[in-house]
Subunit: 272 residues, 2 copies
């Protein structure tokens, strides 16, 4: 839907494993043509966007490798980048150009029925650059996401993984563990909108998030360890009845978040 909104003349071919999902995508006007046949699907294409769960990237790259036309660009929408870029460089033929992408949009909902034409508007989108990245392919992929309204940022795969480990994968782990740690019975009936929002992302697809965590273990663990150190400081301040320290930590958090929210809103108003 989002692609059509900016490029109505492009023929969008949906390639998939399940005809039902493809028919749904066509019914929602998310693609123009559909096929279960990879060879047919990628024939003559300029740009392939791999949007399967990361755990299936290896077989996807292998399935398309022999059919991609020379000079075609392959990108993806996977949430981690080091593993994905490594796989692409290993499996895809030299005559095609891979550029990793991570558009940071969407919700905890899965399925074409949640598609929106403005899905990527104002969303950050990381595009990866390595010493092997083809400059023109990088420019094309950047233009593609910009045209969809995303704010494009170029990063190395490892910088990407470290940064999202902190602001995306760590929060997901914290939310899931918070839900699991809540005692059974009355506690959850007292949980309110704070608990609801703090744990929203824990309703995300477990298989997708398993892939994210397993392909970004190192950065997630690093982020977790930094987090637990800071959490222990808060615990110590509570334990020592240090109300000045507790106040300082809460004030710092409020200031940082309010500043982040203000910047976020200003950017959205500016560009939307």
């Amino acid at each position: 839907l989002a692609v059509q909104a900016v490029a109505a003349s492009v023929a969008r071919v949906g390639i998939g494993r399940r005809i039902r999902s493809l028919r749904a995508a066509k019914a929602f006007d998310a693609v123009d043509e559909i096929t279960l046949d990879m060879a047919k699907g990628v024939a003559g294409t300029d740009l392939v966007i791999v949007a399967t769960p990361i755990g299936r990237f290896e077989q996807m790259f292998a399935a398309m490798a022999g059919h991609l036309p020379p000079g075609c660009i392959v990108t993806d929408v996977g949430s981690t980048k080091q593993d994905v870029v490594r796989l692409a460089h290993r499996i895809l033929p030299k005559h095609v150009h891979f550029v990793g992408s991570h558009p940071m949009a969407g919700s905890e909902k899965t399925g074409v029925e949640f598609a929106r034409a403005d899905l990527f508007a104002n969303a950050p989108c990381v595009v990866t650059k390595t010493p092997q990245t083809h400059p023109k392919a990088l420019a094309t992929v950047r233009q593609f996401w910009s045209a969809l309204g995303a704010k494009v940022i170029t990063l190395s795969p490892s910088d990407h993984d470290d940064l999202v480990g902190n602001v995306s994968h760590l929060p997901h782990a914290l939310a899931a563990v918070l839900v699991n740690a809540a005692p059974d019975g009355k506690a959850l009936s007292l949980a309110g909108s704070g608990f609801r929002d703090t744990t929203r992302i824990a309703s995300g697809d477990p298989a997708m998030w398993r892939d994210i965590f397993m392909t970004n273990r190192r950065s997630t663990i690093k982020a977790l360890d930094g987090y637990v150190r800071e959490l222990k400081e808060f615990r110590a301040a509570l334990d020592q009845e240090d109300d000045q320290k507790v106040t300082a930590m809460l004030t710092k958090a409020k200031r940082r978040r309010d500043a982040w929210m203000a910047k976020r809103l200003a950017q959205q108003e500016e560009s939307g």
Copy 2:
């Protein structure tokens, strides 16, 4: 506003320290009369609702103690209950009845301009019971919150503090620490709606939350310790590349949260 919606004939007297806040409350029709004079404000009253930050409860109780008419009921809206109930029993005269309340409504916003007539609709409201609690006063306070649309639950002060320690104070601590632990620079520009929601409550009033944490240190620390144990299990599963364990934890979290959300929505539809 909420009180007026269900009991238009009651005279609501706002007592405060700052005439500006009181005038704003009156302008918003949140109260009928206003006064800075505690003696005048509580004269002839049936029900006093203490809604200052918990850190000022001691001086509030002391200020009203000599002026409360016999048989009058005092309640509060403080977020922790053991300290509050202990203070009330120590300071208020024997001829008035204290019953602690904790209506779990509101947002991270502060001020009468965020008042809403349906603020308490479907919100859980804990009312505390101890061996000293007067049965008729307890019934009256329960009825008061029920009339405002809240789902009233009677608990001992310590049960209340343990439960909200888990589902309210722990999430707040986690959110504040998550904001503080996020690295400066690019990381926050990649943070999206997941980070926004996970950290929403960290924008709450630091002074109010300092009081909550300082009066519920024991339960919050207990909840934190249980949480960190569970978080370490998740870290270990990642470290050991145990994708089955990671999947199991994420699946459990999704199921628990989805079930909780479904129950919450069903209750809201039922009663609203």
